[in-house]
C-alpha cells in the first residue's frame, strides 16, 4: 500500500522546477506514474511530496514538420506515439520500440518523458530515440538547454537533470528519406516484459542500395545505461549489407561495445551469446526494411 504523501499539481514549468528544487530528495516528479507509483506501492515511505507534471502545457502533444522534424512532449504517452500516423510512417523504429512496452494499459499511462527519465537500461523507448539521434529539451529555473539523448545518461538510473530541472520535450530530426530501422526486444514473455536485451538499428545505404553509409546501433540491458554500440557501428560503415556473412561478422566485435551482466534474471553468458546472434539479425531486419523511393 502506498504511504501518504502531499500531491502538487504545478501549472507551469517554472512552478514545477521550483517545487522540484524545494523538495529535493523528499519529493518526486511524476508523469504517468507507472514507474513511480509501482515503486511506492511496495509500502516503504519514499517521498513526502509528489509533483505531478503531466498537465503542464509545454509538455503536451506531438508536433511535426519536414524541416523541423518531430517534437514529442515529455507527457506524451506511448500509446499516443504508437498510433500517430506520421510517426508510424517516418519513425517506425520508435513505434516498434514503444509498442513492446508493458501492455496497452501501461502504454496508456506511461509517458516517453518518464521512460527517458527513469533511465533504466532496459527502457524500450530510449534505444529507438538514440538511433534516431534525438535530443532532450530541458527546463530549469535558469532557463532552457538542449542535450543530445546520448549524453543524457550519466550513470545507472542517473541523468544530467539538475535539482531544478525537468524534461520538457524530446526532439527528433527528420530521418533520411531512405533508411532502414528495426527494434528487437528479447524477453521471455511477449508482453509485460522487461527487456533482457533491446537492440535498435538505424541505417542508410549508398546509391548502390547496399553499401552502408550510416549506421547507428543502440543496446538496452547491455550495460549500466542505454548505450550506442560505436565500434560495431564503425565496422559496418562501407560494408556490403546485402552480404549475410559480412553482416554476421560483426558478432566478433559487438562484445567490445557491450558488457551484459550476470543476474538472476538471465545468465551473462547467455546474454552475450544472444547479442552476437541478434545484433546482426536486427541489422538484417533493418536492411530489409529500407524505404526505397
Amino acid at each position: 500500500m502506498i504511504a501518504r504523501f502531499d500531491y502538487h499539481v504545478p501549472a507551469s514549468l517554472d512552478e514545477a522546477c521550483a517545487l522540484k528544487k524545494e523538495y529535493g530528495n523528499t519529493g518526486i516528479v511524476v508523469a504517468g506514474g507507472s514507474d513511480v507509483y509501482a515503486k511506492m506501492h511496495l509500502g516503504d515511505h519514499l517521498y513526502d511530496h509528489v509533483i505531478d507534471i503531466k498537465k503542464i502545457e509545454d509538455m503536451q502533444g506531438i508536433r511535426w514538420s519536414e524541416t523541423e522534424g518531430l517534437s514529442l512532449g515529455a507527457a506524451v504517452t506511448h500509446h499516443e506515439i504508437e498510433r500517430h500516423p506520421v510517426i508510424k510512417e517516418r519513425y517506425d523504429v520508435l513505434v516498434q520500440g514503444v509498442r513492446t512496452i508493458g501492455s496497452l494499459q501501461v502504454r496508456n499511462r506511461g509517458t516517453i518523458g518518464g521512460n527517458i527519465c527513469t533511465a533504466a537500461p532496459s527502457a524500450d523507448g530510449i534505444g529507438p530515440l538514440l538511433v534516431l539521434d534525438a535530443s532532450c529539451v530541458i527546463h530549469g529555473l535558469g532557463g532552457e538547454r538542449t542535450v543530445p539523448l546520448k549524453d543524457f545518461f550519466t550513470g545507472p538510473k542517473q541523468t544530467v537533470l539538475a535539482d531544478d530541472e525537468v524534461l520538457v520535450r524530446v526532439t527528433v530530426p527528420t530521418p533520411a528519406p531512405s533508411y532502414g530501422g528495426a527494434y528487437f526486444k528479447y524477453g521471455r514473455r511477449n508482453a509485460m516484459e522487461i527487456a533482457l536485451l533491446g537492440i535498435s538499428v538505424y541505417l542508410e545505404v549508398a546509391d548502390d542500395g547496399k553499401t552502408c553509409s550510416a549506421m547507428r546501433i543502440a543496446l538496452g540491458t547491455s550495460a549500466p545505461i542505454p548505450i550506442r554500440a560505436q565500434k560495431t557501428e564503425a565496422y559496418y560503415i562501407g560494408k556490403d549489407l546485402s552480404d549475410r556473412q559480412v553482416v554476421e561478422a560483426a558478432s566478433s566485435i559487438i562484445l567490445e561495445d557491450a558488457s551484459p551482466r550476470n543476474s538472476w534474471r538471465a545468465d551473462g553468458e547467455f546474454r552475450r551469446s544472444l547479442l552476437k546472434l541478434l545484433v546482426p539479425r536486427t541489422v538484417r531486419t533493418a536492411y530489409g526494411a529500407l524505404t526505397r523511393e
Partner: protein, 781 residues
C-alpha cells in the same frame, strides 16, 4: 437422438454474467459493520531465531485495536504434520512467515503500526536445496519432526529434513534391470511454481460473545479449513462457520488456511469486531503457497521389442518450510510415476523434504504434471535408444482394461489407448518427422505426453435439492466454484433428473452452517462424487414428489410413475397410463405441488466401501481409488534458433472423460489447462538466492499473458471407457486438463533439438547451444 435432454449439451456457467460484468462480490468487496483492518509483520529472513519482539510502540499507535504475537496464539495447524503455528514463535522458517499482527481502524494505521514493531532475528543458514537438505550435515528446518502430531500414513524422520518417505514396490525391479536390453537413466528438475490466482489470499473473521467464530474466505475446501481450525483451536466444529464468497481462482492454492488463522487471531482480541486480513500480491508470493519443486532420478528398463520391463525412481520434493498437504503430492506423483503403461516391476522412493522456502502444496494435478514430464522424457529416451517411433513405443505399453496397475489393482475403464491414438492423429503424427527445419530457418518438433491420475479416496459429499412450489429448485452443496464449472454441471444433473428447466435451478453460496457436508474441492472429484450425490438427491426428491402426487390424485403411490424428462404419469391397475399426467416443467401452471408437503431431496456419496488400504511399504492394494483419469496431449513447437524462444504452435488434448456432461465446460477447462501447462513448461519459476525469493511479483514471475497464449488447441473427448460408477459414466477434467501439456511440450522440444529436456521451465539458457548445434547439423546435410 441422445438419451439425455440436458446432459451432454453445452451450457453456459451460471456465474458468467456476474463475473464478466464485475457485479460478483468477492471477499475483498465485503465490508462489515465495525470491521477493522489487519496487517502482518513478516520475516525478512528465510531462517532465523527470534530473539525478541517489541510491540509496545505499535500498541500505542493511532487507531490500533489489537496486536498479536506468536506466543499468544500457540495453536497448531497441519493436515499431514501439525508443524505450523498461526504465527512464528521461536523461529522463522521462510521469508515472509508471519510474526506479528495488528488490527486497526484503517489499513493505513495497521501498516503504520506494523512498521513500529521491532523484531530481533538471529539468522541461521538457510536450507536452500532439496538435495543439500538430505545430507546429514544439513541444517534442520524442524528439529524434531516426529514429535509433532502427524497422520499415521506418513513417516517423518527425526534429525532430518524428511517430512515423509513414500515407498512403492511391485515385482522384482533388480531382476528386470538385469534382464533388460536397454536401460535409460536420467535426472529431471522442475522449478517451484506459484498458483498465482487472480485473487490473493484473504479472510475476514469475527468472534462473537458466545465464542462462535465466523470466517469469510475464498476457501477451496471450507469444511477442510473448518476441520483444521477446529483441531487447532480445540473448538467444536459447530462453533466455526466458514462462508465462501465467489472465489477468484484457487488451483490448489486456496486449499490451505493462510489468511484465515491470522484474521481469527486478531478477531479473538477485538471484542466482536470483524477483522479483515488481505494479502498483497507480494505477500501472496512469499506466504501463500506454491507447487513444490522436484528433482527426479529415473531409471527405465526395456526389452528390444519395446516392452517396458521396469521403472525405478528416487525423487525429492522441495516442500518448503511447513509440510501442508505436500506428502499427498509426493504420494500421488509416485503412484503414477511409471506412467499409464503396463509395467510389471516398479520401485519408487519419494521424499517430501523440508527447506527454508515457501510452502509446497497441491497445484492442479497433485504432482502428476511433473511426474508425467519425467516418465514421458524417459519414454522418448527409450524410443531413441531402441530406434523406435515414440508413438509406437507408447502404444505398445499403454494400460488396457483388466491389466494390473502400479498398485497391483485390476484396472478398469482405461481409455488411454484411444486418447493417445486421437491425440497423435489430431497432429497428423504418422509418417511425419518429429524434428525439422522450416523454410524460414526455425526448428520445429513434435512430441507426446500421457498421464494417469487418481482421485483421492476415500471421500464423501452430499447435496440437497429444495423444490419450490412454482417448480423452480435450489440445489445446495459445499463443493466450491473455482472456475471448474461445478456450478453448472450440478444444475444440469438436477435438470436432467427432474425435468426442471436449467434456468429455473439455482445454486447456493457455500456456508458450513447451511450447506451439506463435503470433504474437499480438489482432485477433479466434484462431477463424479457430487454428481452421484445429486442423482441420489434427485431420486429422493422424485420419491417425495410421487408420494405427494399420489395423495393429490388419490392414487396408490405404486401407480404413480415419474418418467424421464419429468413427466408424472398416473397408471391404472394394469400398469398402463390412464392419460392423467403432469409435467415438472409446468409446475408453476399446473400447481401440482403448491402448498403441499415441502420437498427436500437429500443424497450423499462416499467411497470408503470401495477403498482398500494400501500396504504401507509396497503401496499394493486391491483398489486404491474411486476413479482413474487418463489422457494424452500431442504438441508441436517452433524454436527460434537465434533466441532459443519456444512457441507452442498446436496442442491436441485428448481426454478419457468417460461421458461429457458439458462440452463447453470441458473446452474451457482444456483451454485453460493447456495454457497453464505451457506457462509451467516455458515461463514460470521461483528464483531463490540463499532462501530469498528474487522474483515474487507479477512482472518477474511470468505467467503467460494473452500475448503468450496464441496456440491452436484441439480438444478430443473420449467416451469409449465410461466409468461404471460415475454419473452417466463421467469422470473428471479439471486437473487432467493440464496434466499432459508439460510432458507433451517438453517431448516436442526434446525431439526438435535431439536432446533430453532435463529442466522445466525450459529457458533459453538451457537450449541455445542445442539450437545452434541442431542448425549446424541441418546445414551440414
Amino acid at each position: 437422438m441422445s438419451e439425455y435432454t440436458v446432459i451432454g449439451k453445452p451450457a453456459l456457467r451460471k456465474d458468467s454474467h456476474d463475473k464478466v460484468t464485475g457485479s460478483a462480490q468477492f471477499c475483498a468487496d465485503i465490508t462489515l459493520t465495525g470491521m477493522l483492518h489487519g496487517a502482518v509483520l513478516r520475516s525478512k529472513v528465510p531462517h532465523g531465531i527470534i530473539k525478541s519482539i517489541d510491540v509496545s510502540a505499535a500498541k500505542e499507535a493511532e487507531g490500533v485495536r489489537a496486536v498479536v504475537t506468536g506466543e499468544e496464539v500457540p495453536y497448531r495447524l497441519g493436515r499431514s504434520i501439525m508443524d505450523q503455528t498461526f504465527l512464528a514463535i521461536d523461529k522463522v522458517r521462510h521469508e515472509g512467515e508471519p510474526i506479528a499482527l495488528v488490527a486497526a481502524d484503517t489499513l493505513e494505521q495497521a501498516y503504520a503500526a506494523v512498521r513500529m514493531i521491532k523484531v530481533d532475528i538471529e539468522p541461521l543458514p538457510a536450507v536452500n536445496d532439496v538435495l543439500e537438505a538430505m545430507k546429514p550435515e544439513s541444517a534442520l528446518v524442524h528439529d524434531r519432526l516426529e514429535d509433532y502430531w502427524h497422520v499415521d500414513t506418513i513417516r517423518p524422520v527425526n534429525g532430518t529434513n524428511i517430512y515423509d518417505h513414500f515407498t512403492l514396490r511391485k515385482g522384482d525391479v533388480d531382476k528386470a534391470f538385469a534382464e533388460a536390453d536397454v536401460i535409460v537413466e536420467n535426472e529431471y528438475d522442475c522449478a517451484i511454481l506459484h498458483h498465482a490466482a487472480i485473487e490473493n489470499h484473504l479472510a475476514i473473521a469475527k468472534v462473537d460473545g458466545s465464542g462462535k467464530i465466523t470466517v469469510w474466505s475464498p476457501a477451496q475446501s471450507p469444511y477442510y479449513i473448518r476441520g483444521e481450525l477446529s483441531r487447532a483451536l480445540k473448538v467444536p466444529e459447530n462453533k466455526i462457520r466458514v462462508i465462501v464468497p465467489p472465489i477468484g481462482g484457487g488451483f490448489g492454492g486456496k486449499l490451505e488456511a493462510r489468511a484465515e488463522q491470522l484474521a481469527i487471531a486478531l478477531a479473538m482480541k477485538t471484542h466482536g469486531r470483524p477483522v479483515k486480513v488481505a494479502f498483497s500480491r507480494e505477500e501472496d508470493f512469499l506466504a501463500g503457497t506454491v507447487r513444490a519443486g522436484v528433482h527426479f532420478k529415473m531409471r527405465t528398463a526395456a526389452r528390444k521389442d519395446g516392452k517396458i520391463l521396469a521403472v525405478e525412481s528416487t525423487n525429492w520434493w522441495d516442500s518448503g518450510a511447513y509440510s501442508t498437504i505436500s506428502p499427498t503430492v509426493t504420494l500421488k506423483a509416485n503412484v503414477i510415476l511409471a506412467g499409464p503403461y503396463e509395467v510389471d516391476n516398479v520401485k519408487m522412493d519419494g521424499y517430501c523434504v523440508a527447506t527454508n522456502k515457501q510452502l509446497g502444496t497441491a497445484q492442479r494435478g497433485f504432482g502428476v504434471a511433473e511426474a508425467s514430464y519425467a516418465h514421458e522424457q524417459q519414454m522418448d529416451a527409450v524410443a531413441k535408444a531402441l530406434g523406435m517411433d515414440p508413438y509406437e513405443l507408447r502404444m505398445k505399453n499403454v494400460m488396457v482394461d483388466g491389466c494390473k496397475g502400479h498398485t497391483g489393482e485390476k484396472m478398469f475403464a482405461v481409455g488411454i489407448k484411444e486418447c493417445l491414438k486421437e491425440a497423435a492423429e489430431g497432429l497428423g503424427w504418422e509418417g511425419h518427422p518429429t524434428s525439422w527445419i522450416t523454410e524460414d530457418g526455425k526448428i520445429r518438433g513434435r512430441g507426446l505426453g500421457t498421464f494417469m491420475k487418481f482421485t483421492g479416496t476415500p471421500s464423501y459429499t452430499s447435496a440437497t435439492i429444495k423444490l419450490n412450489f412454482d417448480g423452480s429448485a435450489v440445489v445446495s452443496y459445499s463443493t466450491t466454484e473455482l472456475g471448474q464449472g461445478v456450478g453448472i454441471v450440478i444444475p444440469q444433473i438436477v435438470a436432467e433428473e427432474l425435468g426442471i428447466p436449467l434456468e429455473l435451478i439455482s445454486t447456493v453460496q457455500v456456508d458450513t452452517d447451511h450447506t451439506p457436508l463435503d470433504k474437499t474441492t480438489t482432485s477433479s472429484r466434484a462431477t463424479y462424487h457430487l454428481g452421484n450425490a445429486t442423482i441420489k438427491a434427485a431420486e429422493d426428491a422424485r420419491r417425495q414428489i410421487c408420494q405427494w402426487v399420489a395423495f393429490k390424485w388419490k392414487t396408490p403411490v405404486e401407480r404413480i410413475e415419474f418418467k424421464k424428462g419429468g413427466i408424472i404419469v398416473q397408471l391404472d391397475e394394469q400398469g398402463k397410463p390412464t392419460g392423467k399426467q403432469a409435467r415438472m416443467d409446468e409446475l408453476a401452471k399446473n400447481g401440482l405441488i403448491k402448498n403441499g408437503e415441502p420437498i427436500l431431496g437429500y443424497g450423499s456419496y462416499e467411497t470408503t466401501n470401495i477403498w482398500h488400504k494400501p500396504d504401507p511399504e509396497t503401496y499394493q492394494t486391491e483398489r486404491l481409488t474411486a476413479m482413474w483419469f487418463f489422457g494424452a496431449n500431442a504438441a508441436e513447437v517452433e524454436i527460434d534458433p537465434d533466441t532459443a524462444k519456444i512457441r507452442v504452435v498446436k496442442v491436441v488434448a485428448a481426454h478419457d472423460i468417460g461421458k461429457t456432461l458439458n462440452p463447453l465446460g470441458c473446452l474451457q477447462q482444456v483451454e485453460g489447462g493447456v495454457i497453464m501447462g505451457i506457462g509451467n513448461t516455458l515461463l514460470e519459476e521461483f528464483i531463490h538466492r540463499d532462501g530469498y525469493l528474487m522474483n515474487g511479483n507479477m512482472v518477474d514471475f511470468k505467467i503467460p499473458t494473452s500475448m503468450d497464449s496464441d496456440v491452436e488447441i484441439e480438444m478430443r473427448l473420449i467416451e469409449s471407457s465410461p466409468h461404471p460408477e460415475g454419473p452417466y459414466g463421467a469422470k473428471g477434467i479439471g486437473e487432467p486438463a493440464m496434466c499432459a501439456t508439460q510432458s507433451a511440450v517438453a517431448s516436442a522440444v526434446a525431439h526438435a533439438l535431439g536432446v533430453p529436456v532435463v529442466h522445466v521451465p525450459i529457458k533459453g539458457e538451457h537450449i541455445l547451444a542445442a539450437c545452434r548445434k541442431r542448425l549446424e547439423e541441418a546445414n551440414d546435410r
